[in-house]
């Protein structure tokens, strides 16, 4: 059973943001199934308000800044332990702590974030008729996300579970943080 939620939001663009995150959610499922060739079941994401959905400690976060008519940060996060299991499954490796698994965790999460976040930002732009420039995805700290969430003018966060094989579900979060330029200008 999947649990997901939207944190915050206020404007008429809310439905666009939510739809874009849901598109990213579907893309994540497609990546797991068709790129990683994993047997995975994604629950249908639910949308509700729950401030506890911000990334927890020991979570890997991939962020991609975007800039255009709006600016902000798109991010994807999953627990480090889930990422380790994901990489082991991708490699067909039984030892989650092997050197090869550990060496590929960062690049796997970055690749996952790259595909999902590009689709989310492109979907937002397509729906709003806007074009964005965006950065290469990079790993960022949970503290950095917390600060951005706190300072955001709007924030949209979807979180849910993906069941890979018979293992514990992988907890995935996808978020959009919109930045208020006036807050940036005045610190």
């Amino acid at each position: 059973m999947s649990e997901a939620g939207i944190v915050g939001s206020s404007t008429a663009s809310r439905s666009t943001m939510v739809a874009s995150l849901c598109d990213g959610w579907r893309n994540a499922e497609s990546i797991f199934c068709e790129m990683f060739e994993l047997s995975v079941v994604f629950g249908a994401p639910e949308v509700s308000e729950d401030a506890s959905l911000a990334p927890q400690p020991d979570t890997l976060v991939v962020g991609m800044s975007f800039d255009g008519p709006s600016r902000g940060l798109a991010f994807l996060s999953l627990p480090r332990a889930s990422a380790r299991r994901l990489v082991a499954a991708l490699l067909g490796e039984s030892d989650e702590h092997s050197d090869e698994v550990l060496s590929l965790i960062a690049t796997t999460v970055l690749e996952l974030g790259n595909v999902v976040l590009n689709s989310v930002v492109a979907e937002v732009g397509g729906n709003l008729g806007e074009t964005y420039r965006f950065s290469l995805p990079e790993l960022i700290g949970v503290d950095g996300i917390d600060a951005r969430l706190a300072a955001a003018s709007e924030r949209f966060l979807l979180s849910g579970d993906a069941c890979v094989g018979g293992d514990e579900p992988v907890r995935l979060s996808i978020g959009l943080i919109l930045t208020d330029p006036s807050r940036e200008a005045h610190g």
Binding site: N27, S30, I31, E34, M35, F36, E37, L90, L104, T107, T108, L110, E111, N114, V115, L117, N118, S119, A122, E123, G125, T131, Y132, L136
Partner: protein
Amino acid sequence: VARALVVDDSRVGRLIVARMIRNAGWAVVEADSGPSAMQVIAEATPDIIFLDLHMPGMGGQDVIRRIRSLGYSVPIVVLTADAQAETREACARLGVQAYLNKPVRQAMISELLASTPAVPS
């Protein structure tokens, strides 16, 4: 055996695409950067190139320009997460054979390779 070159700075990105290409019965060579790709092209004469766009340093579009300026006519398939129309159009103007958005699927790769004639060596 026909040979494909996969160019991607992400090791996992290369691993995934290379596996799909091998599943389709092709051999694979890999490069993790634009300059490395240019070296492989000169030495290994690939029959098709699968190219990531957003790489540090020499990006995918620069690689395409460089390949064409050197007179290579090898088919180039862009594989990217960049879903923006203007990027797709820019690559079309550079003469790529196909522009595939990630996530890629085995069927997409297999169909593309099936329609790609190998260059006689």
